[in-house]
């Protein structure tokens, strides 16, 4: 199988497994899938999985809590079971994507989407490539502003945004302008 078909099959497998997880009603099946995914993630990515699981743990707790408080038409046992199943689903889906991205390069993801229109793939390529760059820039701008005495305020959080968002927007627009000029200079669209 050529590389592009192999990558397309991987994406298809991800979509099918996610759909199966969403439609699955059997609690034991979901629990087994969840355990399998955690084991695989531990084997493949080691310590990285903990940073992924940490926020998921809080999200899961929130889901269970909401279900317990808001599911007034059910018994407490049903609410608790429902909350656990819903949070297991979310953890499983997140782990599934985590595993997929851990074993697949972004360039292979784009290659697997060969059947999509060229402009769409180009947009996706740019997004995947520049997303990390933009996050790095946010960190850098934060460091620069902190070195100039900027402190985050918890009382007026909206004031925290301005020193970061303005330079970020400026950089992003400049990047967008430069990218469009680069695309032109390389004959794109003609």
């Amino acid at each position: 199988m050529t590389s592009k078909y192999y990558n397309a099959v991987k994406i298809l497998a991800l979509i099918l497994t996610s759909t199966f997880l969403l439609l699955q009603k059997n609690t034991i099946s979901i629990f087994l899938i969840n355990s399998l995914l955690i084991t695989l993630a531990l084997v493949l990515s080691g310590q990285k999985i903990y940073s992924r699981l940490k926020p998921l743990f809080f999200i899961s707790l929130l889901i269970i809590l909401f279900r317990l408080v808001l599911g007034i038409e059910e018994t407490v046992e049903e609410r608790l079971a429902g909350g656990i199943v819903a949070s297991l689903r979310i953890v499983s889906l997140s782990l599934l994507v985590f595993l997929y991205t851990a074993v697949t390069d972004p360039s292979n993801i784009i290659e697997g989407l060969f059947f999509l229109p060229k402009t769409f793939r180009l947009g996706l390529t740019m997004t995947l490539s520049l997303l990390t760059v933009i996050f790095d820039e946010i960190n850098l701008i934060n460091i620069i502003q902190q070195s100039r005495g900027y402190k985050k305020s918890f009382i007026t959080p909206w004031k925290n945004i301005k020193p970061v968002i303005i330079p970020l927007l400026h950089r992003t627009f400049k990047r967008a302008e430069q990218l469009s000029v680069t695309l032109y200079s390389k004959g794109y669209g003609d």
Partner: protein, 246 residues
């Protein structure tokens, strides 16, 4: 070899305010190595955008005059055709690289311009800039110098007759800058016309045949490199560094 680049009475303004390029008349011979220098905001980048047709196609400013590349006016020439003749390396590679691997970055232009022997061209271009084996690397993880080389490789792979570089050493260390200029000189010896915007006049003195000095949107000096850099007082007044060995 082509007829070179000719600018006739070119004036350009990004908006209705004052023009960034004023009444430019210029001829760059095919096969030459031309350096463009001048203080920040003197119009150097806008000038080189004319060579690739980016101005006036990408910027809706006020444009007058004609830019002729190898006998063809850029107003009437297809953008892809200009890109096949003139390759442009931008000042900040961080802002222009967007693909997920180095080879895709280089392949991008080749596919757009429907060029043949894509893989051979990629390998050859990477070898030229000393990045053999970098094919599958993510450009965003490379050093600035390496990113600049990837940008240059993208242009080299297109095998254009003209290579235009906007402050190519602005982000490079001295060693990489020397290597880059040696590479450009080698390309020039093979018949490629090199046009480079450069603040470091030492590199221009060593490598360029001709130098243009810009100030406030005008070309105020033009001629052989040695004769331009001997005008020390005038250059000093303009804030341009006089190379040490002149």
């Amino acid at each position: 070899m082509g007829n070179g680049i000719e600018l006739i009475e070119v004036t350009f303004a990004y908006s209705k305010k004052k023009p960034v390029l004023k009444n430019i008349n210029l001829r760059i011979s095919s096969g030459s190595f031309t350096g463009i220098t001048g203080v920040n905001g003197s119009g150097k980048t806008s000038l080189i955008y004319l060579f690739n047709g980016i101005i006036p196609r990408m910027y809706n400013g006020i444009f007058r005059g004609d830019v002729i590349i190898d006998g063809k006016n850029t107003r009437d020439t297809d953008g892809a055709l200009i890109s096949k003749k003139v390759g442009l390396v931008f000042q900040n590679p961080e802002l222009s690289l967007f693909n997920l691997t180095v080879e895709e970055e280089i392949r991008f232009g080749l596919i757009n311009l429907k060029m043949k022997n894509v893989e051979t061209r990629i390998d050859r271009a990477l070898k030229s800039v000393g990045l053999t084996g970098f094919n599958k690397r993510d450009p965003q993880t490379l050093s600035l110098g390496e990113k600049q080389k990837v940008s240059l490789a993208g242009v080299l792979s297109m095998e254009t007759a003209y290579i235009v570089l906007d402050e190519p050493t602005a982000m490079l260390d001295y060693k990489s800058s020397v290597e880059l200029y040696n590479l450009l000189s080698g390309l020039n010896r093979r018949g490629i016309t090199v046009i480079t915007v450069e603040h470091n006049t030492e590199f221009l003195l060593k490598h360029a045949d001709n130098v243009l000095v810009m100030n406030r949107g005008e070309i105020i000096m033009e001629g052989k490199t040695g004769s331009i850099f001997r005008k020390k007082n005038e250059l000093k007044k303009l804030g341009i560094k006089i190379p040490g060995q002149i």
